[in-house]
Symmetry: C2
Subunit: 301 residues, 2 copies
Amino acid sequence: MSAISATGLLKPALVQIAREIDASFDALLPLAGDQRDRLVEAMRYAAIGGGKRMRPLLLAATAGLFGADRTSAIRAGTAIEAIHVYSLIHDDLPCMDDDAMRHGKPTVHKAFDEATAVLAGDALHAFAFEVLSDPAMSGDPFVRIELVRTLATASGMDGMAGGQMMDIEAEKGSFDLQTVTRLQQLKTGALLGAAVEMGAILGRLPVEGRTPLRGYARDIGLAFQIADDLLDAEGDEEAAGKALRKDAAAGKETFLSLLGAERAREQARMLVDQAIAHLSHFGPEADLLREIARFIIERDR
Amino acid sequence: MSAISATGLLKPALVQIAREIDASFDALLPLAGDQRDRLVEAMRYAAIGGGKRMRPLLLAATAGLFGADRTSAIRAGTAIEAIHVYSLIHDDLPCMDDDAMRHGKPTVHKAFDEATAVLAGDALHAFAFEVLSDPAMSGDPFVRIELVRTLATASGMDGMAGGQMMDIEAEKGSFDLQTVTRLQQLKTGALLGAAVEMGAILGRLPVEGRTPLRGYARDIGLAFQIADDLLDAEGDEEAAGKALRKDAAAGKETFLSLLGAERAREQARMLVDQAIAHLSHFGPEADLLREIARFIIERDR
C-alpha cells in the first residue's frame, strides 16, 4: 500500500498513549466529594479506558518530531481528547444518533441519564479549555493561547459542530461528493487537523513551516472518514464496540454510497500515500506519523 | 435600602449594553451560506435580542472602572454571554428543565428541534473561546489566556456545570442552607464572579488588588439567586418571559423555602449593602456597579 515499510513503532505507541491519557484524565478529574460526584463519575466513565486516542497520538507524534516535551503533549492531548469525548457523549444522545453502546459499554445516557450526559459533555468541553489555559500547560502564554485558539476553532461552527449540523441535514437531502467531503472535513477532519497543529505549536514550528503537516492532516482526515464509512458497512460490531450499518439505514450519502466500496478503498489508499508524501522532507523521526497514516485505513474499530 | 442614592446610570447602561451585545453577536455570527445555516440561525435566535445582559454589563462596568477600552469589554462580554446563553439552551432541554418559553419566545428546541438545540449550545460554548482567543480580543496573549482561564473555570465542573449537577441532585434530597448556598455559588455565582474578574483582567488590575471586587461579586451573586427564588415564587410569568413556580413543584429546597420570604428578602438586602460596602474605596466611578447591585434585587425578570 505504501513504499515505506512498517517499523513497528505504532503498536507500542498506541499502548503507551492509551496508558498516559488514562492516567492524565484520572489525575485531572478527581472526585469532588460532594453532590457533583455524579457528574465527575460520568465524565470519568466516558473519558477513561476507551477509544483509540487517535488525536492525542497524532498530537504527541507531531510534537515529538520537534523534540517538544512529552508532559506538555500529554496535557494538550488530554484536552483534545476531552473535546472528542464530549462530542461522542452528545452524539449518542437519543435526540441525536440515539446510540446505546460506545467503546463496548453502555453510552453515558444509558449508564447514567440524559441530563447527566448533557452536563458531562458540557463539563468536559469546559475542562478542555481549563487544561489548556492552566499555567501548568506551558509557561508561555502565547503557546497556551494558540492551543486554545486552534482547539476552539476546530470544535465550533467552523469545525466539528458545523460538521455535525451538516450531518443531520444530510439525512434530509442527497448530498453530492463535494458536500460530503466538506461535511467530513468539518466533522472529523478539523479536530484531527487540530491535533497535528497543536503538536506543531508545542514544537514551536513557525506557521510558515506548517504547510506539509497541514497537508498530511487533511489527507489522513479524509482517509479516516472513508475508512469509517467502510467499517460502518463491512465491520464487525463487536470489534467496533458500537452499532454499525447506520449510514444506509439513515439514507445518508457517504463516500461509500457515492463512490462504491472499491473506489472508496482505492481513494483511501491514495490519500494515505499522499499524506506520507507530504512528510518527504522529514527523516525517520516522522516514521510514527507515517505508520499512523497507514493504520488509519487498516483499523477494525 | 442603601445609603447611596441612585444616580440614574443604570437605565441607559442597560439599554446601551443590550444594543452593543446584540450588534456584536450579529457581527460575529454571520450565516455560513451552506448546510450549517440551521445551526447558525439557532445560535442567533438564542443569542440575539433577549436577556438582561447582566454578565456583559458587570464585565463592562468593571472594565470601565479602570479605563479599559469599550470594544474589548464588549468582545469579552459577548464571550461570557455566549456561555450563559448556551447554558440556558441546554437547561431548557426536555431531559433537563423541559421549558417551552425563554425571554418571552419559544425555547430553541421548540423553535428548531432537540438535536439542533444541543448543537447550538455546543457551538456557542466553543464560540466563546474562539472570541476570547482571537488576536482581535487583545494584542496581549497574557490578557487573552487569563480571560480564557477565568471563563473556562467558571463554566466547568468547579463552576456552572458543577452547580447544575447539584441542582439536579437537589430534587432528590433535602439540601440544607449551606449546601444550597454552595450550589448557587457554583450555578450562578461563578459566572457572575467571572464577569467582574474578566473586567478586572481587561483593566489590568493586579491579582492582589482584586479582593474587594471579588467580595462584591460574591455578594451580588447570592443576592441575585435569592431574588431569582423570590421571582420564581412571586413574580409575573409574562414579565419574566418564562415559566415560574418551578422550584416548589420540583420539591427543591431554596433560599426561600429554607428562610421564608421575609428573611430571604432581608438577607438579599443585606448582601446588596455588603456588596456596595466592598466598593467603599472607589469614588463615583463605581456608581454603576453600586446601581447594578441594587438592581439585582429590584428587577422583575
